[in-house]
Symmetry: C2
């Protein structure tokens, strides 16, 4: 196990009808005005918006809204929020939504305390020194943004989608009420689930085998997700399945499963997927169910061992040589993605073979990345070809 | 899954040669003098004492010692520490050791800010309002005291061993260097391991079956411990095994595995074990390897389901009726305890059949407890009989 430090200050309030429990800590912190940051209809449909604004009214806290935050959230919306906060009357940022709302809220929280343009943080031109406090209400699990200090923002001008982190960006409190997720479209439940599984896979497949415990924890999380996603396709209002999904989604990318690993994870699949989302608007999870198996197939012959262990821990594959078990594991994963109607080829996303060049060009901008294998431009192109 | 809140502020520094990383946060917090709280020879043998005092000297921080803290630590030692702090010159408490040192340090930290007698907190006569900051260095894993806000202290005058908790008692920072545990006596590695397994069992066997995820996480932790304890009997300096042991020991009783459960756990075995330690000086872990199987045998026919699930998740027992699988799981657990030379009967601890009466009398003082089954005086006696 590798050395690590861990200090996650985010407080969680988890469960049914728990938005009201925010009232007392908000008042205790002397907060008088908040900026609500959210997407669109889903926020109302889930009941979250009403519960939040009722709570704020009871607490005597004013609020204004930045809405229409998109999946793969944009820097323009962040700048709009920053301007609103700088105009005054706001003491805290309150995302209501999933990763997009939280990531946007974090960017606003940092931008509001900075004199330059907020994109500087993502472009690596400035470091976050301070941020406004964030109190969030989660309505869609997948990103772990509710418990981590990461923010991923896209910039259409520069065709970048960049992930940035700072300890100042941990939410003070996140409310996770799984019942807000009853009304999510099925596709979002599926793609969010793929994203959660990918976050875990990218850790157990980083090429490190030093900690049986952390691997076992990861396999347990994937197995749970493989039970929970089909259960929710069947019954979107299965509370216990939603709660397990929300817990798994919270743990997967909180950093906890990286503890003691050689790296924080091998996030090549996320990088390769980001290009697909950015250029062709694919849902984040859909890009991952396409890329993860292709990345795995490209690498497993050279590195069969972590895939073979995955086969054992997740799919109960004990027979055969490492290489055979590895391939069987990858096929089982692909079969699972098909079973839940997640795409596994670029073709299914509507891409043409000619598009691979453009994808590769974009995904190569951030090279090198990867830890199981550090990728180069040739690798990137080959993986997209396999994904096609 | 049941509603919960979670907010664990303890920062972890984990890994080899990490004591030195305490210097900078101690200086940043303006700490000028600390009270070192530890047991005896083990603290020196592990190398921890030397590393800590070297670090303090470099930092220009003075220290004084309260040592000879015993397993099942005593209120007398706590009072000694409180008096020392009240005499002045100390800004923080620094346990070096396992649960006993940490539990004593927490008691001192609270007692030093209280005008009455520190036992009042354990007797339920006073509540902790404030405590001195705690910076700890772990040299023996098992209790999770390094990451929780619990303190268990024994009072020989009243023949009580009482567990108490307060959010003020979370350590600020805990340093966990697994290599300090290379020099632990084999018995302590085994008994600590039993304690860790018991902390998990007492959660998965609380009668709640709402969260597949939290159960899976727990089973994964037990399976890991079952690999790690024999590995350490074989080679006490196996770093990766020590690291997994330390991580598992940290997670097991941190509260994390209780999240979403109906109760924080069914700690009957710990209560029944406490009486054995208190009256007959049995090692804490040894009392648990005796009591857990007896408690399980006493209850499983009425509640086979959680034991059957345990059999599946930990021992791979899939065949047969719930009741048969439950019994097989209990037998497998007992076999494992025997394999690692942990006692499974009161007789092995040197007790006589006549002692059961006295044990039961002591263990009944805190009744009622238990959640899978709420125990009464008759139950307590029957479990001890089975344990004999």
């Amino acid at each position: 196990m590798h050395n690590f430090t861990w200090n996650n200050p985010t407080a969680l309030i988890f469960g049914r009808d728990t938005v009201k429990e925010l009232e007392s800590p908000l008042k205790a912190s002397g907060i008088k005005g908040v900026l609500l940051v959210y997407g669109g209809k889903g926020t109302f449909k889930s009941g979250a918006y009403e519960q939040v604004t009722d709570m704020l009214k009871r607490a005597g806290i004013t609020f204004s809204d930045v809405n229409d935050v998109k999946p793969n959230p944009l820097i323009g919306k962040v700048r709009e929020g920053v301007a609103r906060v700088k105009a005054g009357g706001i003491d805290a940022i309150m995302p209501i939504g999933g990763g997009s709302a939280f990531d946007t809220a974090k960017a606003i929280a940092a931008g509001a305390k900075y004199s330059g343009d907020v994109w500087d943080f993502y472009a690596g031109k400035a470091k976050i020194a301070d941020a406004m406090p964030i109190y969030g209400v989660l309505t869609a699990s997948a990103s772990s943004s509710e418990v981590n200090c990461i923010s991923v923002i896209s910039n259409p001008e520069t065709q970048d989608k960049i992930s940035m982190s700072s300890p100042a960006l941990y939410p003070k409190i996140s409310v996770i009420d799984p019942s807000f997720q009853f009304t999510l479209p099925q596709k979002q439940t599926v793609y969010g689930g793929v994203d959660i599984i990918a976050h875990v896979l990218e850790r157990v497949l980083d090429g490190d085998d030093e900690s049986a415990l952390m691997d076992e924890q990861s396999y347990a999380l994937i197995r749970t997700m493989m039970g929970v996603i089909p259960a929710l396709i069947d019954d979107p209002k299965d509370y216990d399945a939603r709660a397990d999904y929300a817990m798994a989604g919270m743990m997967a990318h909180s950093g906890f499963l990286s503890l003691g690993r050689k790296t924080r994870g091998d996030f090549s699949s996320h990088k390769l997927g980001h290009a697909i989302s950015l250029l062709y608007g694919a849902a984040h999870g859909a890009s991952l169910s396409v890329v993860m198996p292709a990345w795995s197939r490209y690498l497993y012959e050279e590195n069969p061992e972590p895939f073979a262990r995955l086969g054992e821990g997740v799919f109960g594959i004990y027979e055969g040589e490492d290489e055979d078990r590895a391939l069987e594991a990858i096929e089982s994963l692909e079969d699972f993605f098909k079973e839940i109607n997640a795409p596994t080829t670029l073709r299914e996303l509507g891409l043409k073979e000619d598009d691979i060049e453009k994808l590769a060009e974009n995904a190569c901008k951030l090279l090198p990345y990867g830890s199981l294998k550090v990728l180069d431009a040739e690798d990137v192109k080959e993986i997209y070809k396999l994904a096609y």
